[in-house]
Amino acid sequence: MKSKITIYLAAALVFLASCNKQLNPLLTDPSKPSPAAADNDLYLNNIQLRFREFFQDATDLSDQLVRQEVMFGPTYYNAFSPTSFDDIWNKAYVDIFLSANTMVPQAEAKTQYIHAGIAQILKAYTMVTLVDLFGDIPYSEATKGVANTNPKVDPGKAIYDSALALLDSGIANMARKTSATPTPSNDLFYGGDGTAWTKLAKTLKLKTYMQERRTDASVASKISALIAEDDLINAPKYDFVYSYSTHAVSPDARHPHYGSNYGASTGTSDYIGTYFMWALQKDKSMPDPRTRYYLYRQIDDINNDARLPDQTTTQFAIPCLYRSSPYPPTTCYCIVGTGYLGRDHGNNEGIPPDGALRTTWGVYPAAGEFDANQNLPAGTGGKQVHGAGGNGINPIWLSSYTYFLKAEAALVLGAGGDAKDWLTKGVNASFSKVAGFPAAIGYTLPTTDTNLLITPYKQSKYVGIVQGLYDGASSDDDKLNVIMKEYYLAAWGDGVEAYNNYRRTGKPDNFQPALGGNAGSFIRSFFYPSVYVTYNKNAAQKSTVDVKVFWDNNTDNLK
């Protein structure tokens, strides 16, 4: 009996011992590649794709404050919940910063200087923009993983300085490029062109210094130097844009504003700000010729259209039409002309069934439809317009912006050149960009009617009006207002610059105030993201939205 038991026990032990060996291979996840699969081209494209998402998030948040799109409000305090900022925060730190930090040393070691430089430049833009949106943010203690689980904030100024240093590193890396330097397999911005990236880096330095010009006198000389060197984005071929494609799903590679307005059978989903449409259509003695490229009206005449069968429906679909304007007569309200239907700033009423009535994004920059009085709704399906198919751009930095900044620098800092000359160049650059855009994305305009298109005649007439306004302005402040208005109109699709400019200069100075008049203090920086406040012990949420970023010493009563 004893021997039997011994045999059993021995068998059991052998059985267990043999099993234990097979545990180790199970520690590695069979569904994921090992870290050895990391490749700098994969990192680079990751950074670039997340960067365009970061920009899209940033512009979609800030363009509501400058009335390019609607802010529902009704108060500035409750216009955005902290969760609205989680995405942008995640993309900046987890995707862009961490990937760039990991990739740059690896790329430099492999003489992939263009890879490294691109990562540095995109990271610098991200840093500056995060400060612009939130103020002081974690940086020097950030992206250290579990080594620092509660990064503290750095002052915005310090982050700006780090970003400028990073831009210099990026410029230096681009300069290290030799014929042996491997080019990125698919640089989605400049096709691996180091010259263009260098111009971008220097332009971003100019932008960054200009942002600081009111709080740091030392930047004036640096601005002058950059302008004098003029290695900037000063021609459309160097425009820093992200180009989309018409690929609709898996992945959806279309312009996000195309997808949300032309991509669904349920109609459009964005509201254009009433003020922006008014500024294009009514602010000057002629309508802006870019309007039909910028915006597409789904309905030509709100007052006489079969799609609005009876009074009850109309009143429900466009309730503001049946109310009197709460604004002074000079301020826009409800509808511009007979078909420019958007939404007033701070209007948080329920959403009416107006998806087929709202004015929406046009062919520039979202690759939607050109407005040739089609009088048709936008969307998918039969009797709807589909536009260019979504292969639009994010105009992150255009040569026109450089000119407007130069104009501001010349006017305010005497940084070189003639402000009016730069202003003119800026407007012309914007017009060329917009007028040439349909052809650039391979879209045939639905009309050849020169009454609707940008023509050299209309362009010069418009430029003349702007120049007249500039000449007629009685003070530098008014002249700045003219420059900033044109910058604002040229920056359609880039709320980031428009929002920065407004906080820096307070221009344009005739924004439509929030509906209801009780919006409270303007947002000078956003609440911190929920993910930061919820998980970071060192995070203190702001209790108000009028906390200014470090470069903002402008008046308190922005509206």
Binding site: V94, G145, V146, T149
Partner: protein, 1060 residues
């Protein structure tokens, strides 16, 4: 009791008559009342040391003096004293134990033990308590039946997932708190394979795998609650163990040679709760009628106002063009639902030979939900048998096969904001304006199949379209079974080996036709997602059992052994978008294909885990009244690095029965049985695989650039690997009293426990500024302490009448502590920006947080903003505790001759829930709760302005409800979930045997039963009639967030059961 005693004495006297007075060797055979031998019973001589035990055939030999008295005792039978009276050959029949002393329960690893010897709590539920019910989910049938066991439905949708947890939740990590299911001794996967997170309906539209069990095939269920009870199962048993013995696996002997039982039930499944909708106002806003999503429109008039049909309807159906419809009350939501039919057919065949038993079982269940297109089909087939072989071997085998097929319209987590963000059949239903003729008008465009509803652009999807075109399916083919061999080495020493297999293929799909109006564009253009899951658990267990007696007073029972468990999970899947031909679901009918789900998670992955353990357990008994049990187990688990993967954990318990020991209690009429027990036990928790090693994150086809090039991207995974991860240790102390009092009229079992789980393995959320989102660490402790009480009272115990009351009480308090200072909080469910479920130091596990209304520190009143609406917070704070204060169940069973009436009431006190259904109904003014005069302006009561002065800002009532009460801060949308419920009512007629005498039937019964017949949740807005027993977060450790999970189900039916 006295009667029984008399009867026993009678039997003994009969046995004892006519004996010869000689000294000799006595040969005996012990059988049960049916004549089958009882193996291994113990035979002792009264007053003399030593003894013997019977062999496998119940035969024993013993030398005695003629006047000796034999004491025959066997596990599960009443110990019987038999005077030899000079006989040489005895045939003894032992009665199955009915009193507390002889009660036998199945414990860990399927070992049958005398309950009196156990130092921990075990609750037994008989198969009769779960069979013949109009419910197919065995877990839901357990509700209230065992103290300490908490069950929470995710929805009333037939086949939706079910939460079970025992003695609270010990693990912070949002993973699974579901107890281990062991069926016929073999671990059984009870997981819920969610392939879309809760927002996409993963929690509700995915079945929990215990649905594959057939409640009609259950012989009994034993619930092992504490760690002491489950220690032999190792880490798998840390959440408690539900031991299911099926009729096939029981080895139970039928009364006759061949017995066939047939059962047929028919039930109706209907909605248990619908809101009381206002009959006064219709759809619109600001008292104007319109196609708004809200019900703040005009008052109904007689004759009614006339409204146009929607342009889309007029375009698709010319008969409506230019016509008008009445603006009046339509009972749309009520009429949307149907009464489903549940039918269960079950056949059981059992047979017994001299040394063999055989059982086979087949059942079919068809369960139609109350929601159109929701149904569950179940087919269960199983066979099992045991054979005792002459060469000391005993063999048993069970094989079960199940097909479970569940289908439902998708139930996603919908925000209630109108144009639905996440597809759900309920997302647009409950706030349907009362003036909308949902059921009277077409919902589908006859040309392109798209949804048509009452308004165009910024549409909402017609719920009827959603119910017909937006379908989730979950189909499982499952085989599980065991093969066991037992060998008796020498008397008292057995070696047994068991092989267990649980293998299933699960096929899940989401089929959405194009033409919908909710979800993102991928939904609207048509979506088809399929996943194939292959899950296998292979288990080998070897146990050596030795029991003996030594001295006069000691018994020893030792189990030792090892087990090996191999878990394999493999999933492949695909999601296709852009449907070509409407109505056809085949991946080739879609333009684009992806390997990720809607929430961007991989559909293809695999996971493998091996766990090895050795264990030993010994019970030392002294004089039938004192038992000391000690056990230990050592595990090696493949999910941790070699230096951390091993853990040894011991336990010890003591059981003392004073009624056997103290003389003054032995004849007490007041205290018939008393047992005191105390135990200390430990258990472990090992993490899921693949958390210790780094990998690379690769996304193929992330983007198509303007030139048509495919862009692939790579990056660092947002989860920081942790090579130092170690197992989590759980410790528990439990003590209890089991008693039978006052002539056995009252049974009272009380258990108290304190459990602490330290070095929690938890997913620690990281602020993205660290560069990562999450890492798994060991940190913090969770304490659970609680009381479980089961009180039974036999009120009437007459010849014809019997009335028993049973009360079960469960109370559990949890507390999280010891989280390191650098952790602010951890999100375990819901939305991380609120409303969500969080873990915070010093608070109960799973606190509800969300945005809240700012309060004026001086007056303590809520603050309003310049527009007169609540001023919200810019962060989140605690807004509720979803953990119930206690649960109470009362069961009454009244029997008169062959009629019995059973009733179960459940009461849950406390626990809070954030309800999207309720807030949306308030915000949109659809229920009678908002039936007041809506023309008067409204000032939010008890509020102050930001400067502290009383609020005097008038707003329209609909604006206040919309912006503040309904869609305002989450803190205003939390309600207390106290609820009382008539869970079950059953009337059963068992036809008396004498009536059946000349029929082929052995027994016959007919029963009528209903579940969830009535409930009342007093703290919810009255007319919303909300049922708090729902959880949109699916199956896991988080509860307290409800996002249109749907109403609960009421079931009424009849069952006929016949035995041949």
């Amino acid at each position: 009791m006295r009667k029984l005693h008399c009867y026993l004495m009678g039997v003994l006297l009969l046995i004892g008559s006519g004996l010869l007075a000689q000294t000799t060797e006595v040969t005996g055979k012990v059988t049960d009342p049916t004549g089958s031998p009882i193996p291994n019973v113990s035979v002792r001589i009264k007053g003399v040391r030593g003894g013997t035990s019977a062999d496998a055939n119940g035969v024993f030999k013993i030398k005695v003096v003629p006047t000796a008295v034999l004491i025959i005792s066997g596990v599960g039978y009443e110990a019987t004293e038999v005077p030899v009276n000079g006989r040489t050959s005895l045939t003894l029949s032992l009665k199955a134990g009915t009193n507390a002393l002889s009660e036998v329960v199945v414990t860990a690893l399927g070992r049958e033990k005398e309950k009196k010897a156990l130092g921990y709590a075990v609750t037994t539920i008989k198969g009769t308590a779960v069979e013949q019910r109009p419910e197919t989910d065995i877990a839901r049938l357990l509700t209230g039946k065992a103290p300490g066991v908490n069950i929470l439905n995710s929805s009333g949708i037939s086949g939706s997932g079910t939460n079970i947890n025992i003695r609270g939740i010990s693990s912070i990590n949002a993973g699974n708190a579901t107890p281990l299911f062991v069926v016929d001794g073999v671990p059984f996967d009870a997981g819920t394979n969610v392939n879309a997170n809760f927002q996409y309906g993963g929690g509700i539209s995915t079945t929990s795998r215990f649905l594959d069990l057939d409640p009609n095939n259950v012989e009994n269920i034993n619930v092992l609650k504490g760690l002491a009870a489950a220690v032999l199962y190792g880490e798998a048993g840390r959440n408690g163990v539900i031991l299911v013995t099926t009729k096939n696996g029981s080895g139970h002997k039928s009364q006759k040679k061949l017995e066939i039982t047939g059962t047929q039930s028919i039930s109706a499944n209907s909605v248990a709760n619908l809101p009381d909708y206002t009959h006064t106002y219709g759809g619109g806003f600001d008292l104007a009628p319109s196609a708004a999503f809200s019900n703040w429109g005009a008052k109904f008039t007689n004759p009614p106002l006339q409204m146009s049909y929607s342009p889309a309807l007029q375009a698709a159906f010319p008969q409506y063009a230019g016509k008008k419809q009445d603006y009046k009350f339509y009972n749309s939501v009520h009429d949307f639902f149907r009464t489903g039919l549940i039918s269960t057919t079950s056949v059981n065949v059992s047979s017994a030979g001299q040394n063999t038993t055989f059982n086979a079982n087949y059942s079919y269940t068809g369960d139609q939900g109350f929601t159109p297109n929701n149904r569950v089909y179940k087919n269960n087939l199983g066979v099992g048998g045991t054979a005792k072989l002459s060469n000391h071997f005993t063999a048993n085998a069970v094989l079960n096969f199940a097909i479970t097929d569940m289908q439902t319209p998708t139930v996603g987590a919908n925000g209630g904001g109108g144009s639905a963000d996440k597809a759900s059949v309920f997302g647009n239903l409950f706030f349907t304006p009362t003036s909308i003729n949902l059921m009277g008008l077409p919902f589908q465009n006859p040309i392109d199949g798209s949804s048509i509803y009452y308004r165009n652009t910024n549409d909402i999807e017609n719920p009827r379209w959603a119910a017909n075109n937006n379908i989730t399916n979950d189909k499982v083919y499952r085989t599980f079974g065991t093969l066991g061999l037992k060998y008796e080495v020498i008397k008292g020493l057995n070696v047994s080996y068991r092989f267990g297999l649980d293998n299933y293929s699960e096929y899940q799909s989401l089929s959405v036709n194009k033409g919908g109006k909710q979800g993102d564009n991928t939904y609207k253009t048509g979506t088809y997602r399929t996943t194939n899951i292959q899950n296998t658990i292979i288990n080998h267990t070897l146990i050596v059992n030795y029991n003996t007696t030594f001295g006069n007073d000691f018994t020893l029972d030792v189990d030792a052994g090892g087990d090996f468990r191999h878990d394999l999970y493999n999933q492949t899947g695909m999601r296709s978008n852009q449907q070509l031909v409407f109505g056809l679901f085949d991946h080739s009918n879609f333009i684009s294909h992806d390997s990720k789900d809607e929430g961007d998670n991989d559909l293809d992955y695999k996971s493998e885990k091996i766990r090895e353990g050795v264990f030993a357990q010994a019970t030392l008994g002294y004089k039938d009244y004192l038992y000391l049990q000690a056990s230990g187990r050592n595990d090696w688990v493949s999910t941790l690095e070699p230096t951390h993967r091993k853990l040894l954990y011991p336990s010890v318990s003591l059981s003392y029965i004073p009624t056997q020991n103290l003389s003054f209690l032995q004849d007490s009429r007041a205290v018939n049985y008393l047992k005191l027990r105390v135990g200390y036990a430990t258990s472990a928790h090992f993490p899921d695989p693949y958390n210790t090693r780094s990998s690379f994150n690769l996304t193929a086809n992330a983007y198509i650039d303007k030139n048509g090039n495919v862009v692939n991207i790579g990056g660092i995974p947002d989860r920081v690997p942790n090579p130092n991860l170690k197992p989590e240790l759980l410790r528990e102390i439990e003590g209890g009293i089991e008693s039978r009092l006052f002539d056995n009229r009252i049974t009272l079992d009380i258990t108290g426990y304190f459990r602490t789980a330290k070095d929690q393995i938890l997913d620690r959320n990281l602020d993205a500024s660290t560069g990562y989102h999450v890492t798994q660490i060991n940190a913090g402790s969770v304490d659970n302490k609680g009381v479980e009480i089961a009180l039974g009272y036999t009120v009437v115990r007459g010849k014809d009448w019997r009335w028993e009351l049973q009360g079960n009480f469960t109370l559990n308090r949890s507390k999280v502590h010891g989280l390191p200072d650098d952790i602010k909080q951890i999100n375990i469910g819901g939305y991380s920006g609120g409303p969500g479920i969080f873990v915070i130091n010093g608070k109960p596990l799973g606190i509800l947080e969300g945005s809240y209304v700012q309060v004026d520190p001086k007056s303590g009143k809520k603050i309003v903003d310049a527009n007169g609406y609540y001023l919200g917070s810019s962060d989140i704070g605690i807004i509720g505790d979803p953990n119930a204060k206690y649960n109470l169940t009362g069961i009454s069973t009244l029997t008169y001759k062959w009629v019995s009436l059973r009733m179960q009431w459940d009461y849950t006190k406390g626990g809070q829930i954030w309800s999207n259904t309720v807030r949306t109904m308030l915000a949109r003014g659809v229920t009678k709760d908002t039936d007041f005069d809506r023309t008067l302006p409204f000032i939010l009561p008890n509020t102050v302005k930001q400067d502290g002065t009383p609020n005097d800002i008038q707003q329209s009532v609909d604006n206040v409800y919309f912006n503040s009460y309904g869609f305002g801060q989450a803190s205003t949308q939390v309600w207390d979930a106290t609820v009382i419920r008539l869970r079950e009512l059953a009337l059963n007629f068992s036809i008396p045997a004498k009536i059946l005498k000349n029929t082929p039937f052995g027994s016959a019964s007919i029963g009528f039963s209903g579940t969830n017949l009535w409930y009342y949740a007093p703290n919810f807005p009255k007319h919303t009639r909300f049922d708090p027993e729902s959880n949109s977060l699916g199956v896991g450790s988080a509860k307290g967030v409800e996002l249109f999970s749907g109403p609960s189900s009421r079931r009424l039916g009849a069952t006929l059961r016949l035995t041949f």
